[in-house]
């Protein structure tokens, strides 16, 4: 869901520290009125956050300690059995926890040169248009794009073309490779913008200084450009990682039931086998793993770079 954040990234950045509204020249009564206005402004969002986020998440937590009703659904109870049963879905956890980080890493590797090209080697006139062209696919139907890849990587697609040049028996669809290709394809549009932003902000004089002091281009890149671009890489990786962890369509279409993620297990548990308490436990585990990973990742990134920009948005 974090997919929308890059758009926000663009609008932030420059004037982050705006001044506070000067509401101080108000008398006591109008200060009460001002509080009322604030409350009214925030009430609708507050209601949504409470009744559609906090309460439902609490219900999931509650259900995860319950028992499955014979016909599917939930019976109140207090048991840790659902959590003990998590290893039964170990394969889904294993796939998610290996392929999501790996997919994120690959996406970052492919996105970096692209962002570098846009930020450093493209004339300012074309930059934005070309960047939007990179982002645009993310905003179109994920279903349809992965459906196209299903055909491209399917047995009548790439493998049959490879067979024509003598490479027979190549299978791509329904392997981890297909999922990784899909991850790079699906999330490159999300990874490029934050890296682009950090590279664009980079002071070109630093590069000149480095060159003047006799550094080779490679050394300048490794010791100046790369460290300065790290916050962007960190933000992008964060976004992609979050979305990959909770993905369903990508493994469903390109993993075809053989390479499945936690998301696929959840759909199965809630909509097919209707084991809600166990499904709730799997959801809690997923969210817990995500938040813990993000927490340590942010701490690591923040300790590495003195700029707080690396923080999500």
């Amino acid at each position: 869901m974090a997919g929308l954040v890059p758009a926000i990234l663009f609008t932030r950045g420059k004037k982050m520290r705006g001044s506070r509204p000067r509401m101080m020249k108000l008398s006591m009564t109008s200060s009460l009125r001002s509080k009322l206005v604030t409350a009214l402004l925030l009430a609708p969002a507050g209601l949504f956050f409470v009744f559609l986020l906090l309460v439902p998440l609490a219900v999931v937590l509650l259900f995860s300690f319950g028992e499955r009703a014979p016909a599917g659904g939930y019976v109140p109870a207090f048991t840790l059995q659902n959590y003990m049963d998590l290893p039964a879905r170990g394969k889904a956890f294993f796939n998610t926890l290996t392929l999501a980080p790996l997919g994120t890493l690959l996406t970052a590797l492919f996105a970096f040169p692209m962002a570098y090209f846009l930020a450093v080697r493209t004339s300012p006139k074309w930059r934005i248009a070309l960047l939007i062209l990179v982002m645009a696919p993310f905003w179109t139907s994920q279903l349809l794009r992965y459906y196209a890849w299903m055909i491209i990587l399917g047995n009548k697609g790439l493998p049959s073309w490879l067979a024509m040049v003598g490479l027979t028996d190549v299978r791509i669809i329904n392997t981890p490779w297909a999922v990784l290709i899909g991850a790079v394809y699906g999330y490159l549009p999300l990874m490029v913008p934050p890296i682009y932003v950090s590279l664009e902000k980079l002071d070109k004089r630093l590069l000149e200084a480095s060159a003047d002091l006799g550094a080779t281009p490679t050394r300048t890149f490794l010791q100046v450009t790369l460290p300065l671009a790290l916050p962007g890489v960190a933000t992008g990786s964060m976004l992609v990682f979050i979305l990959l962890m909770g993905d369903y369509i990508l493994p469903q279409f390109l993993g075809g039931g053989k390479v499945f993620f936690i998301g696929n297990a959840l759909v199965d548990l809630f909509l097919q086998s209707r084991n809600w308490p166990f499904g709730a436990a799997v959801s809690v585990a997923l969210v817990a793993i995500m938040f813990v990973t993000i927490y340590f990742y942010m701490r690591f990134v923040l300790s590495k770079s003195d700029t707080r920009r690396a923080a999500l948005v």
């Binding site: 974090a2 926000i8 520290r17 040169p113």
Partner: protein, 269 residues
């Protein structure tokens, strides 16, 4: 060399999309075996009541989501500016949680929370002939939750970048607070609100996973597309898909243009 790489990336990104559009003009029965040019499937798709019904549901959901999120998100951003201390931190945290919790978990939690409530109240409502169940409204509610957070972040970013002296000038010229808001603040915020509206619309129109859980008996377009991909596809889906792709591209480009233009005018003023 970098340029060649960039070209490859664009091909990589756009090849699948081009394929979908290309095969929507296929005369043959199979989605990906070319048998000649035809717009037959467009006619077929737009006279299919199931597709048109799903399209209508999706448009209703996306439009309601966009309107509600734009309004509530803007109010939230304005309210947050006036808030200090732990309340502000709490609200900020909620916004980030709403964005970070995976869509699938939002879908699941909304489903089981509402179904539990319905199981409790439906027996007593049965006498009145009312039966509450999941449906379009639940999809809208879950989408609004997420998009409030997005619009609030967009509008707040703009609010913080705004030139305060304009508001001060307006106040010095004896405008009422509401007058200042209507004539100074709102026009300055308009681009970010509109961009938020368009992003919310696009998100909602294309969301599959949340709707899959909470739409009950209603079918949205992505749900229809998903089930027909599983059944085996005809170029009909490519035709619908092409229309959907085109719509989102246009909306996205408008959103970006509006956002950028707004930023320029803000800097100029």
């Amino acid at each position: 060399m970098l340029r060649a790489y960039a070209i490859c990336v664009y091909i990589f990104l756009y090849l699948p999309i081009t394929m979908i559009v290309f095969f929507s003009f296929n005369a043959g029965k199979y989605a990906m075996a070319w048998e000649g040019f035809s717009v037959f499937w467009y006619g077929k798709a737009f006279s299919n009541p199931l597709i048109m019904g799903a399209l209508r549901t999706s448009v209703i959901i996306a439009l309601s989501t966009a309107i509600l999120s734009a309004i509530i998100g803007t109010l939230t951003a304005l309210g947050l500016e006036r808030l200090k201390g732990w309340l502000r931190i709490t609200f900020d945290a909620l916004i980030y949680i709403a964005i970070m919790v995976p869509g699938i978990v939002i879908g699941i939690s909304t489903l089981i929370a509402f179904v539990s409530v319905f199981d409790l109240v439906n027996p007593s409502l049965a006498g009145l002939g009312i039966k509450l169940q999941m449906g379009t409204w639940a999809v809208i509610a879950a989408h609004v939750l997420f998009n409030i957070a997005v619009v609030a972040l967009l509008v707040r970013a703009r609010l913080q970048g705004m030139d305060r002296s304009l508001v001060d000038a307006s106040e010095d010229l004896y405008a009422t607070p509401l007058g200042t808001f209507r004539q100074v603040v709102l026009p300055l915020l308009a681009p970010s609100i509109l961009a938020g509206f368009l992003l919310a619309f696009t998100f909602s129109f294309e969301d599959f996973i949340i709707a899959y859980f909470v739409s009950g008996p209603d079918t949205t377009l992505p749900i229809y597309i998903f089930s027909s991909i599983r059944r085996g596809v005809t170029p009909e889906i490519n035709a619908v898909g092409s229309v959907v792709l085109l719509t989102s591209f246009v909306l996205l480009i408008i959103a970006q243009a509006v956002l950028r233009r707004g930023e320029k005018t803000a800097r100029a003023s």
